[in-house]
Amino acid sequence: MDWQGQKLAEMLMQLLLVASAVAAFVVGYAMADFQLMLLVYAGGVVLTALVTVPNWPFFNRHPLKWLDAAEADRHPRPQVSATPSTVGKKKAGKNK
């Protein structure tokens, strides 16, 4: 899931959950049925999970554009000559 996809997923999650909560409360209050409210809300939560939890293709429409590896070779990182031991200790990336 790319950055835009994560933003979209979080927005969708909050919107869907709040909307289903409001719908559930209105239905439950109107029908005077507490259990119906819980069922409607449970349905909303399941729907929200199905929409926002799996890594759907529409969360991956903005892939990161990395520079070509050849660019790095052409512009090497400046070496710090005084303390060469720190070079190359950068932590490994977390991106999956």
Partner: protein
């Protein structure tokens, strides 16, 4: 939000937070219910009225309890506990309460009832103050909600009097 687990966790925690808010709202909606319950208790007979060996007065009576508590029920009501208490004043205590009968009303359909019964719990005074005593019969109820605050209220019925003599 970058992994499946993070997103599942976010959905679960936010869903439960909102659920708590919904329960709060459901409890709050109880305040918009303005109930109009009715109750009446008739004493059909004083079965016996005596002083026990230890000096305490005890009465046995047959009661006819009728009430319509259906307006107490809202969509957020689990059950209603109701009890009838004899209330009277003695020189020692400004308020004595003796529970004579109680019951649990599980639903609105059962909230309108008429019960013919002797006192379920013994009506004993801590002393010998009951001869010719004026007393109230009070119907108390506690509304137990599905979520939120418990409400309690009562209807006081006045004008009852015990006999002047043991029988």
């Amino acid at each position: 939000m970058h992994s499946f687990g993070h997103r599942a966790n976010a959905v679960a925690t936010f869903a439960v937070t909102i659920l708590a808010a919904m329960c709060f709202a459901a409890s709050f909606s109880d305040h918009f219910n303005s109930p109009s319950p009715t109750a009446s208790v008739k004493i059909l007979n004083i079965n016996w009225f005596q002083k026990e060996a230890n000096g305490n007065d005890e009465v046995s009576m047959t009661l006819n309890i009728s009430a319509d508590l259906s307006s107490l029920f809202t969509w957020n009501t689990k059950q209603v506990f109701v009890f009838v208490a004899a209330e009277y004043e003695t020189p020692q205590n400004a308020l004595n309460q003796v529970s004579l009968w109680d019951g649990i009303i599980p639903s609105k359909e059962h909230a309108k009832f008429l019960i013919h019964t002797t006192n379920k719990y013994r009506f004993i005074d801590q002393g010998s103050n009951l001869k010719g005593k004026d007393f109230n019969l009070t119907m108390h109820w506690h509304i137990m909600p599905k979520t939120g605050k418990m409400f309690a209220d009562k209807i006081v019925m006045t004008g009852y009097r015990l006999p002047e003599q043991y029988r």
